[in-house]
């Protein structure tokens, strides 16, 4: 099934919509706009009737794959179920109809929500204060590093380097580079954890920070984190926690207690706000007291039961987002936290780790596992032992054919033919078993009919795409046909 573009379905014979009278005197555009701003030809807008347009979008929507349809085992992305109660809370008129320019006295409930969410998130990660402004995880990373930069500058300490493990999320080095730091890569030990001797050799008085995620991207806990924190602090550098993998640890242990100074959270991962095209995201950043003066402004302050925006922050790195972040996501995240409660959040993490270990043990023997069990909330398998030249990419395409979304492939870079899976706590045993069956069938096909597997998917709206041609010769613009 395919669906033409609305432009391709357009019929020039159809009239456009009849708009009601404006209610104000009409002005000719040429009288009020400079000549350069006026167009000489009418815009090419598609012309369809309302039912045609409705069906067009409904058909496109039906082709979409989402967590509402089936399992989404995308490693390191925590594609967990987004509870409907979040949507109910976010659409309450008192939240949904707020205007960011309303006076503080009329938005006390919204400020209270931001205050409460900040307190709850700080409690989960062991930080002292938090900014809710950043609009995504990478934005949170950049904000956190800017604060660390401002902290060092404030002390007259010139620090130019940020250490990043070779297993890190790609956003880590990118955020550091955008802040103007030189990125220094730290090697992994064979077990996937940070190599302490390599770290030792790269820490010095130029080091501003190290960025770590714990558990790391191969799904193992950095057991030497306290030693790492001591080494990093000994040279005057800070520890940055990439919160993408927090789903393994909520209510079990806290980055703040491990020695981290700055933490970003992905509300769209750990705290069930929509993700992957359903966003927008939210990437709050928490800090220890020492870095609090540098938080983006404004923060929310509570005084005598009254809430207000605190703009008086002379050392602040400034605003990092218009208004107050993606407020609707803050409503959803606090709804989730309150609905779960502290014990519920701990249980979610325990279940996420259990689900990952169950699936890992089911897949053992079908795929190769470079790291020994147990894993935390996700695991990395390798497809390199599949026969007949079948690759991780073919496995991923085969899973699409069988109704699943593909896992993360070719990441982390330290595992050849990596297949990274994160089931999350919201998947049932039956779903994990069905996924295992699909992988088993693909492994059998790799042996018996590799050519058939190389042609999959065949039953989806589009078949095997030529990803190489798309990358080498990207066609990024659709041009209307000359005929109409």
């Amino acid at each position: 099934m395919t669906e033409p573009l609305a432009f391709e379905k357009s019929r020039a014979s159809l009239p456009g919509p009849r708009l009601p009278a404006a209610g104000v005197p009409e002005v000719a555009p040429a009288d009020i706009l400079p000549a350069g701003a006026l167009r000489s030809t009418p815009p090419r807008l598609p012309r369809l009737s309302e039912p045609e347009l409705m069906r067009h979008y409904s058909r496109l929507g039906a082709m979409n794959y989402s967590i509402s349809k089936n399992f989404y085992p995308l490693g390191s992305c925590t594609m967990k179920y987004n509870p409907v109660v979040n949507e109910v809370a976010a659409s309450l008129p008192g939240f949904a109809w707020l205007h960011p320019y309303q006076p503080e006295d009329t938005v006390q409930g919204a400020l209270e929500l931001m205050w409460d969410l900040e307190q709850a998130l700080c409690a989960v990660v062991g930080m002292d204060r938090m900014s809710l402004q950043p609009a995504a995880g990478a934005h949170g990373e950049w904000t956190g590093l800017r604060m660390i930069q401002a902290y060092h500058e404030d002390r007259g300490d010139e620090r130019t380097e940020v250490l990043v493990p070779d297993s890190a999320h790609g956003t880590n080095p990118a955020s550091a580079a955008l802040c103007g730091f030189r990125v220094v890569e730290v090697k992994s030990a064979p077990d996937g954890r940070v190599s302490l001797p390599d770290l030792e050799g790269k820490l010095n008085e130029r080091t501003a920070a190290i960025m770590l995620t714990n558990p790391n991207t191969v799904g193992t806990f950095e057991e030497e984190i306290l030693e790492i924190a001591e080494m990093v602090h000994a040279v005057g550098a800070k520890l940055y926690y990439d919160g993408a993998n927090l789903n393994a640890l909520m209510g079990i242990c806290r980055p703040g207690d491990m020695g981290f100074d700055v933490v970003h959270l992905n509300l769209h991962k750990t705290f069930t706000t929509p993700h992957g095209g359903g966003g927008p995201g939210a990437g709050p950043v928490g800090v220890k007291h020492e870095l609090e003066p540098f938080l983006p402004r404004p923060t929310v302050r509570k005084e005598n039961g009254h809430y207000r925006f605190d703009q008086e922050r002379p050392k602040s790195i400034g605003r990092v987002r218009s208004f107050y972040g993606n407020f609707g996501m803050l409503v959803r995240a606090l709804t989730y936290i309150l609905a779960m409660g502290g014990d519920g959040l701990s249980q979610a993490s325990l279940d996420a780790v259990l689900a990952a270990n169950y699936l890992r043990s089911r897949l053992d023997g079908l795929l190769e596992f470079p790291q020994p069990p147990p894993c935390k909330h996700e695991f990395v398998a390798s497809a390199r032992s599949l026969p007949n030249g079948i690759k991780a990419l073919d496995l991923a395409k085969g899973l699409l054919e069988r109704g699943f979304y593909a896992p993360t492939i070719y990441f982390p870079l330290i595992v050849p033919e990596a297949v990274m899976v994160e089931p999350t706590e919201t998947e049932s045993k039956a779903t994990l078993d069905a996924f295992t069956e699909a992988v088993a069938e693909i492994v059998r096909l790799a042996q018996s009919e590799p050519d058939r597997l190389r042609e999959e998917p065949t039953s989806l709206p589009v078949g095997r795409l030529d990803e190489v041609a798309a990358a080498r010769n990207p066609v990024l613009r659709w041009s209307p046909r000359a005929a109409d």
Partner: protein, 123 residues
């Protein structure tokens, strides 16, 4: 023809007189898969041993390219802009990346046997 030497980061180098040609190894191109983009320095740029001089991108990953020796770039393989697949098809021939005027004495380059042992241990 001068002997081809290697780095642990999967570059090769052939030094002939004071002039060197640099590329990535067959093992590296096979691991990367189809190369789709290269970011290479301009003629005249300085490269330093072990320092990144460019970026290679495949459908799987983007990786830094490291200079095996110190020197200044005298020629860049312009054909790779339109035809990055040459790195996959002929990594030791038409898929070369840079020609460099070598400065100083090259240090720590690997022989073919050493490189192969190294790459085998890694995977």
């Amino acid at each position: 023809m001068a002997e081809r030497k290697y780095t642990a980061t999967h570059e090769w180098i052939v030094i002939d007189g004071g002039r060197a040609t640099i590329g990535i190894t067959d093992f590296a191109q096979a691991q990367l898969g189809d190369v789709v983009f290269l970011e290479l320095p301009k003629t005249g740029a300085k490269v330093a041993p072990g320092e990144a001089f460019g970026v290679i991108e495949s459908v799987k990953a983007a990786s830094d390219l490291y200079a095996p020796v110190a020197g200044s770039v005298v020629e860049v393989n312009e054909r790779l802009v339109q035809n990055p697949e040459l790195v996959n098809k002929d990594p030791y021939g038409e898929g070369w990346l840079l020609k460099v005027e070598v400065e100083g004495e090259p240090q720590g380059l690997l022989t073919e046997a050493e490189y192969k042992a190294d790459a085998k241990a890694e995977h």
